[in-house]
Amino acid sequence: MTQDVYKQRALRERKARLAAEALLEAKSRDLYLANQRLEIRSGELQAILENVPAGIAVVNSDCTIKLINKPGARMFGYTLATDLVGQDILSLFDTESAPILRSLISQACERQNKGSAQALPEVKAIRMGSDMFPAEVDIVQTEAADRSIWICRDISRRKQAESERQALEQERRHLQKMESLGTLASGIAHEINTPVQYVSDNVRFLQDTITDLFELIDRLQPFFGTDPIAETTPPMIAAARDKAEEIDLDFLHEEAPGALEQTLSGLQQISKIVTAIKEFSHPGSQETSDIDLNHAIETTATVSRNQWKYVSTLDLKLTPDLPSALCHAGDFNQVLLNLIVNAADAIEENKAEGELGAIEISTYADKGTIWVKVTDDGGGIPEENLGRIFDPFFTTKAVGKGSGQGLAIAYNLIVNRYHGQLIVDSEPGIGTTFIIGLPCAESDGE
């Protein structure tokens, strides 16, 4: 190697060395910064793990716990998370939950780190030294196939809150029902009072009639047992005729049967109203059962008569031999009552005084669903309100005329409880149709 070549090579290698040193420094700095970021991220993750309101565990393929966060340890009644390391995680749950958990493990393996399960089943977890508690478990397979992440939540509070919510919901429904009955009370009293009035008048009339007839009989009594062909016959006939004239027997003869008929009719009407109220308020079983919706509609129409008869006609177009629906009669009555009262109120607001509107209730069955339509010509619902009518406490009625719970409860019952449909079709300026769809009892579950 000549001197020039040597020099050239030395220069090049020096330059290469300096470049390598610079690269090394840069790499070291990058590494340091990456380490810093990693430490910060690790700290953040640690903070999340130790404060998240859930137990999070890394579990080996043999179901032993590799590590678990503090909230998880506390959840199962342990002071130190390390006390759980190496323990079989399935031993933290009751034996009945084992098949559910094993199924979750299999599903996690199939999903392979593509997110959590869609539905998390409830299991029973064991708190050390004491009771069991309801829990939700989600299992996610890590990229290292021999480990999985278990996420466990204590759902005791959630269940209690749900139970309280259901109790409140039940009370709300009961109060709404009482509110409806309260609203109906004066109307029902009026409905009953009318036939009671003329029953009472007719009975008084019949009472006087019977008194008069007995007086006539008394006048004739002395002549009973005497010889029919005697000199007493003419006076007897004269006495009877006089009495008959006095009491206006012809009139009594003509009116008494009618009075009796009216009385019986009035009593039947009262009986019908009372029966309807009884059925409306206490429809028998508290459980869902096969319900004849046509009969329920007739009952509710009777009970609510005073609410609509001054403002509207009510036309029932009920398909005969309608299949039964599976629901609670009381709930359906309540829903229908709300719809009828709303229809009547809408008509009252939109029609001129003395002008009668029209409410029509029709039923029919189609493809396993029973449809009940309640249509009114009460002017329809403004479009800006249509999206809110099923919201709890939403109302456009005057204060004191409704709490806005009727449709919200109706929706909750029909759609959520009985898996039916409640649809509104409204034409502003014309009227509204509410459509209830309930599954037929015999097709329930198909």
Binding site: M1, T2, V5, Q8, R9, L11, R12, E13, R14, K15, A16, R17, A19, A20, L23, L24, K27
Partner: protein
């Protein structure tokens, strides 16, 4: 292109020719780096092409031969520098199957900015396989040399048929390898 290619190339020129030739070809190329290469650096691939062309003019060997020789040299060097990639392989075919999905993956962990060629080895049978080479640099002969070096390292005699699929624009070729025992 990573600096190791340049440092190994210049070392090969030192060995096969002379230090003087090495310095001469560097001085005759207009290199942005001035030939001061470090193995972990990154340099334009046009510099290696320039060096190869200048060496070709200097020594008269064809560019293809020079590249193939370099490829074989490079493979031998890899076997010394990175023995961990060679552990557990019984023959060349077994090794070539791991280049794309293991070796290159590990390289990218250390040098994520590296633009590696794709060298995909697919077994066609017990005694044959194909290696598909793709690169935005037309260095098919270097890949050929690497394969020759691999066969030599594992003492795995095989015939190689080269099918150029590049149409002259990019590096794209198919190498069909048949073990010579089977061919016989």
């Amino acid at each position: 292109m990573k600096g190791i290619i340049f440092t190994e190339f210049l070392d090969m020129v030192d060995d096969k020719f002379s230090v003087e030739i090495t310095e001469k070809i560097i001085s005759q190329c207009d290199l942005e780096s001035d030939g001061a290469y470090t193995a972990t650096g990154t340099y334009s691939h046009t510099e290696i092409l320039s060096l190869v062309m200048t060496l070709h003019k200097q020594c008269g060997a064809s560019v293809q031969d020079l590249c193939r020789t370099f490829g074989a040299h490079l493979f031998q060097r890899f076997s010394i520098l990175y023995p961990v990639f060679f552990d557990g392989h019984q023959n060349a075919f077994s090794f070539l199957e791991t280049v794309e999905n293991y070796i290159h993956v590990e390289v990218l962990k250390l040098f994520p900015e590296a633009k590696l060629p794709s060298i995909q080895g697919n077994r066609l049978g017990d005694d044959s396989m194909e290696v598909i080479y793709r690169s935005h640099r037309c260095l098919t002969p270097v890949c050929h040399g690497l394969i020759l070096g691999c066969l030599d390292y594992f003492d795995h005699p095989a015939t190689i048929e080269v099918e150029d699929l590049s149409a002259g624009y990019v590096g794209h070729a198919r190498f069909l390898l048949c073990a010579e025992d089977a061919a016989a």
